[in-house]
């Protein structure tokens, strides 16, 4: 029973975490599919009528084709890329703004804190969906993937900001922050090297969660016909299938593909985030 390993293993490997391994592997499959494989698409996934319509899955078209003459597989690959992009943009912008606002408010205190928190609370109090719809109007012209991500990010920073602020408030009291000050560290260095690393585990989990939420929000906008409908995303994939009554007309591969992809993508992100959190928690203790 005794472990024979003589070497001390100080760092517990993240690869020992089953959830993370499963989630991350799935996620990598999606990333490879979306960001690498999708570039080899033989057809422009946005174009209509590049392949014969309404074919069930076959070797030539692994996930069948749609009534619009698109190949479901290649559309899906592109859709995964775009959905991930929307999620990334929203998560990066939302996360960056949230962390910045939260840390600034938490460490400045006083008037700055009050003003920032009032703004933050405003974004929490205002219902997001109607404003998103209105903003979709405002960004007239090109509702590109980027713009969509940005629009969604407008409401993705407020909660993180609040949480980061709470964390900053408690971090402010930590001894090692004082220690860094008394070691003559510059304030910006304290921010980046002392405080930020401690917010990172949370930031990563929040980041993944934000990606998840943004992808879901895009899908909601899509079902209302407010997404970038001519782009390929998971949301528009579902939108078109619904528009063309894929369920009723027995074109199950058309509707099932984006839905299943979405579920797997979510599960992979969820597991990655959970695994990461568990791992970081075990490292801290």
């Amino acid at each position: 029973m005794k472990s024979k390993s003589k070497k001390k293993k100080i760092v517990v490997s993240i690869w020992d975490n089953k959830r993370f391994v499963v989630g991350f592997t799935l996620l990598m499959v999606f990333i490879v599919l979306g960001f690498i494989i999708s570039n080899f698409s033989p057809y422009d996934p946005r174009s209509w009528g590049t392949v014969p319509e309404e074919l069930p899955p076959s070797l030539k078209h692994p996930l069948g084709t749609t009534s619009l003459g698109r190949d479901v597989f290649w559309f899906l690959a592109e859709g995964i890329k775009n959905s991930l992009m929307i999620g990334l943009v929203a998560a990066i912008v939302g996360g960056a703004v949230g962390v910045t606002v939260g840390i600034t408010a938490g460490f400045s205190g006083g008037v700055i804190d009050r003003i920032l928190m009032a703004i933050t609370d405003t974004f929490i109090a205002v219902p997001s969906l109607p404003i998103l719809i209105l903003l979709a109007f405002l960004f007239k012209g090109r509702a590109s993937i980027m713009v969509l991500g940005l629009i969604i990010s407008i409401f993705s920073w407020a909660w993180p900001a609040r949480q980061v602020r709470a964390m900053a408030l408690s971090l402010r009291e930590r001894d090692y922050i004082s220690m860094a000050f008394f070691s003559g560290e510059k304030p910006y260095k304290i921010l980046f090297f002392e405080i930020f690393p401690h917010v990172i585990p949370w930031t990563i989990a929040n980041f993944i969660n934000a990606i998840l939420v943004a992808i879901g929000q895009e899908a909601t906008l899509a079902v209302l016909g407010l997404s970038a409908l001519e782009e390929a995303t998971l949301g528009t994939g579902i939108y078109w299938a619904m528009q063309y009554q894929a369920i009723f007309r027995g074109l199950w591969w058309w509707i099932a593909s984006p839905v299943v992809a979405m579920i797997i993508l979510f599960v992979s992100l969820f597991l990655t985030s959970k695994g990461l959190q568990e791992h970081l928690a075990s490292r801290r203790s």
Binding site: M1, K2, S3, K4, S5, K6, K8, D16
Partner: protein, 333 residues
């Protein structure tokens, strides 16, 4: 002759880590008799908390009982607390043996009033109506000098000392034969600490049971225990009556430890023990104290010293002492 309540034979309790087992308690033996106050002393990581948890059968992953026995002797029954069914354990807990955890503000359920927390373990045993049980509880608290209105409070409304006293009251209400107290006063103020120790001692006097106290503070042991078990790195270094340990310590570790304690009114230069306790993943061969021991001999690195009884009830595990209690060599003082 006082009745034996607990016997510990070759207890081995390890912690499972990814790097291997941490041998927190390694081959420990001693008995506890009725009416005794026993102190478990030692530095952090010496295994005293592990041992006392094991006595209570509170063994949770990554803690693991490897072998040996810790027998709870109740009315002629033996119950090996190291390997016991959950149900069996539940039956003896709080009734025959109680556990007072380290003083902390997180021991009591923060969202439930003390009253309920008191009753939930009591009612099961007494099988009486809540009102009657309450009266009894109030009476008991009074006898311990606690105001009965604490029962209506939430834990956070009480000071740490008061919470600890409530916990002790809970743990002793059913008159258990053995009370285990794991660092019961750490982090409490000295005045409160004294009060709590007195309380534990008074209860013990009243119930004539045995009390085992774990503490890293030698002063605590000096003040209330009858017998001290000095642990070092998962093993017992020395066991003996309290006064003898303080006046005439045998084991070099005990001696250095006691010498290092500052005394008020005595400004004499004192020094600590050099080095630090070993890593229990890979403890040193032989005597585990040998890397820090000023009287180290060759044998100390080779052979694990056995426990020898030097005088009645005074045992030591050190190669300096032979079976007959004679000193092998005089070490440089």
């Amino acid at each position: 002759m006082a009745e034996k309540l607990l016997e510990i034979n070759h207890a081995q309790i390890y912690y499972a880590t990814l790097a291997g087992y941490v041998k927190a308690v390694d081959n420990v033996n001693f008995d506890i008799n009725e009416g005794e106050i026993v102190g478990l002393a030692g530095e952090s990581g010496c295994g005293k908390s592990t041992l006392i948890k094991s006595i209570y059968g509170f063994i949770k992953y990554p803690m693991k009982a490897i072998s040996g026995e810790i027998n709870l002797l109740t009315n002629g029954n033996k119950l090996n607390m190291l390997f016991v069914e959950k149900e069996e354990l539940r039956k003896v807990r709080w009734k025959y043996i109680s556990y007072v955890p380290q003083a902390s503000l997180h021991v009591l359920n923060p969202v439930t009033r003390i009253k309920k927390q008191f009753l939930e373990s009591v009612k099961r045993e007494h099988n009486v109506k809540e009102k009657e049980a309450m009266d009894e509880v109030k009476e008991y608290l009074k006898s311990l000098g606690l105001p009965p209105d604490v029962l209506d409070s939430f834990p956070h409304q009480l000071s740490g000392g008061m919470q600890q006293r409530v916990i002790i009251a809970m743990a002793t209400f059913l008159k258990p034969r053995i009370v285990l107290a794991d660092e019961p006063t750490t982090a409490l103020d000295v005045v409160v600490q004294r009060g709590i120790l007195q309380m534990l001692r008074d209860i013990q006097k009243e119930l004539k049971n045995s009390l085992i106290i774990v503490s890293h503070d030698m002063g605590v042991h000096y003040q209330i225990t009858h017998k001290i078990v000095i642990m070092y790195a998962g093993k017992i270094a020395e066991i003996g009556p309290t006064d003898e340990i303080f006046n005439n310590p045998y084991h070099p570790y005990t001696r250095l430890l006691i010498n290092s304690l500052p005394r008020i009114g005595d400004r004499e230069q004192r020094s600590g023990i050099e080095g630090s306790p070993p890593n229990l993943l890979n403890p040193p061969e032989g005597c585990r104290f040998n890397p820090r021991c000023p009287s180290k001999m060759k044998i100390c690195e080779e052979k694990i010293p056995e426990m020898v009884e030097i005088s009645k009830g005074h045992f030591v595990a050190c190669h300096l002492f032979q079976k007959n209690g004679k000193r092998v060599k005089e070490d440089a003082e």
